[in-house]
């Protein structure tokens, strides 16, 4: 299971990559592995203003549907339309397959997230 350094992780198995004031959000390799073959991704609306913990979108695997939560507050400024036609890209590379980009409104929220090492321990405790 891949857990790259330099990203931040939530307990709901989302990852966040910070680029300036922008947060790229996706689901982790652990999440995609547990979901199995992903066949549909529901993307958020552009311009949506979300609070940390709000539903960002959804992901359906063959066996189940799950919600994706945004780990940070902000406005959705970009969505990954590619995933609409090729949701299986999340299985192939979860960390290249960001779901949306949020313009963050509260950088202090990042302190609530885990680094790679802490997330690895968290996943181990979930098993």
């Amino acid at each position: 299971m891949k857990i790259p350094e330099g990203l931040l992780y939530s307990k709901d198995h989302e990852w966040v990559r910070i680029d300036g004031g922008m947060a790229y959000v996706g689901i982790t390799d652990y999440a995609q592995h547990n979901l199995g073959d992903i066949v549909y991704v529901e993307l958020p609306a552009l311009g949506a203003a979300l609070n940390a913990g709000d539903i960002l979108g959804g992901v359906d695997s063959v066996k189940s549907a799950s919600d994706i939560y945004t780990p940070v507050s902000g406005e959705v400024v970009k969505v990954n339309d590619e995933l609409g036609d090729a949701p299986e890209k999340i299985n192939a590379d979860a960390y290249a397959s960001w779901i949306a980009v949020l313009k963050m409104t509260d950088a202090s929220e990042l302190n609530m997230l885990m680094d790679a090492e802490a997330y690895e321990e968290f996943c181990a405790s979930e098993e």
Binding site: G36, E42, D60, S61, K63
Partner: protein, 364 residues
């Protein structure tokens, strides 16, 4: 949780174990879609040892079963397997099962795992002295070998010609890798294939030998996930979804397995009444025309008003569409009717289509 005799094999093969009605079974080994496609195009091997087996024996066995199930077991030949719903007095479905008729005094019923105890008690409570009902689930492991190459793979290990076993026929004297087995040409995938009933202590050996024999034909172990997508594309009902204590086989579209012209059986009068009055609701197949994946329990709307509930739904790998089955008001059951499925609180467009979604010609 209960484990089948093949538990260790599943772990060794990398199976992702889940709790399925109290049984610890693999939902997948290497991906549901892969296992699904391999079963459609080559062959898949399933451990279905969780299924229940109930024997009915004695001079009154045939008469007893005729009263318990809706299909006509008397019309079946020996060594024929009969699919049948079993109903309660209201016409609701206690279970759907396979009746293996060895002769008129000896039958084996194969029932849904989660219903085994319920079925056994239901049967026993109606049995009289000349039909003995026994729960023999522990005496059998069950493997399903399914797919277009199933016959030629299984034949490599069998001492009897499998081409002699027709659709829904079985033999009890086949040796599979040296182990005596009941072998039937039955399954739950919409493909040709076989189900094997064998001694639990020999099942790992047979499992290994099958995987080995099928390697060159692309045989792959397949989990419960693929079992569900395969049956669902073929529009085969799943108890607890398309059938339940409150859904009748007529409502589920299984009328051909309900013989209202045979002697009395439990539920007959209720079902006859239902048929005469016209069904008020039906199970239909639908496909999504809007974006989204339907799932069991989602609400179905027709012109904005509640019209039913999704019973099974998902992405269908061999059809390449998002499809479902739903129990809806009879007024919106016609092919082509527009429906909305409420997905994540939003109505998404769908329309009623013919079932099955996927259809292959079986060997008859």
């Amino acid at each position: 949780m209960k484990r089948t005799p093949l538990y260790e094999r599943h772990l060794a093969l990398g199976g992702q174990m889940i709790n399925f009605g109290g049984w610890e079974l693999p939902v997948q080994y290497h991906g549901i879609i892969k296992e699904h496609e391999q079963t459609r195009n080559a062959a898949g091997l399933f451990d279905v040892s969780h299924m229940g087996e109930i024997s009915v024996k004695g001079p009154g066995a045939l008469r007893f079963l005729q009263r318990m199930v809706t299909n006509d077991v008397a019309a079946a030949q020996d060594f024929q397997a009969v699919y049948s719903p079993m109903c309660n007095e209201n016409g609701g479905t206690v279970d759907d099962l396979l009746v293996y008729r060895q002769d008129s005094r000896s039958f084996l019923l194969v029932v849904n795992a989660a219903n085994t105890e319920k079925d056994f008690e239901w049967l026993q409570s109606h049995a009289s002295g000349d039909a003995e009902v026994r729960n023999v689930s522990d005496e059998y492991a069950q493997l399903a070998l399914q797919g277009p190459y199933a016959e030629r793979i299984l034949q490599k290990l069998c001492d009897k010609p499998l081409s002699d076993i027709g659709f829904y026929r079985f033999r009890t004297d086949v040796r599979v890798a040296g182990v005596t087995a009941v072998v039937s040409r039955t399954g739950y995938t919409g493909e040709d294939g076989f189900e094997l009933y064998i001694r639990p202590d020999k099942s790992s050996e047979v499992w290994d030998r099958l995987l080995e024999a099928g390697q060159s034909d692309g045989l792959m172990p397949a989990g419960l996930g693929a079992r569900d997508t395969l049956r669902f594309e073929a529009a085969l009902p799943l108890y607890g979804h398309e059938l339940s204590d409150s859904i009748s086989p007529l409502e589920a579209g299984l009328g051909i397995f309900v013989k209202l012209d045979k002697e009395d059986f439990i539920g007959k009068s209720a079902l006859a009444k239902q048929k005469a009055a016209g069904l008020s609701r039906r199970i239909v197949g639908f496909e999504m025309t809007g974006r989204g994946i339907p799932r069991a329990q989602m609400t179905v709307l027709h012109h904005g008003a509640a019209a039913g509930v999704v019973t099974s739904g998902g992405f269908a790998p061999s059809v390449g569409k998002n499809i479902g089955m739903a129990l809806v008001d009879a007024g919106c059951a016609a092919e082509g009717t527009g429906l909305d499925i409420v997905i994540r609180d939003k109505p998404v467009m769908a329309r009623v289509v013919k079932r099955p979604f996927y259809c292959k010609k079986y060997k008859k």
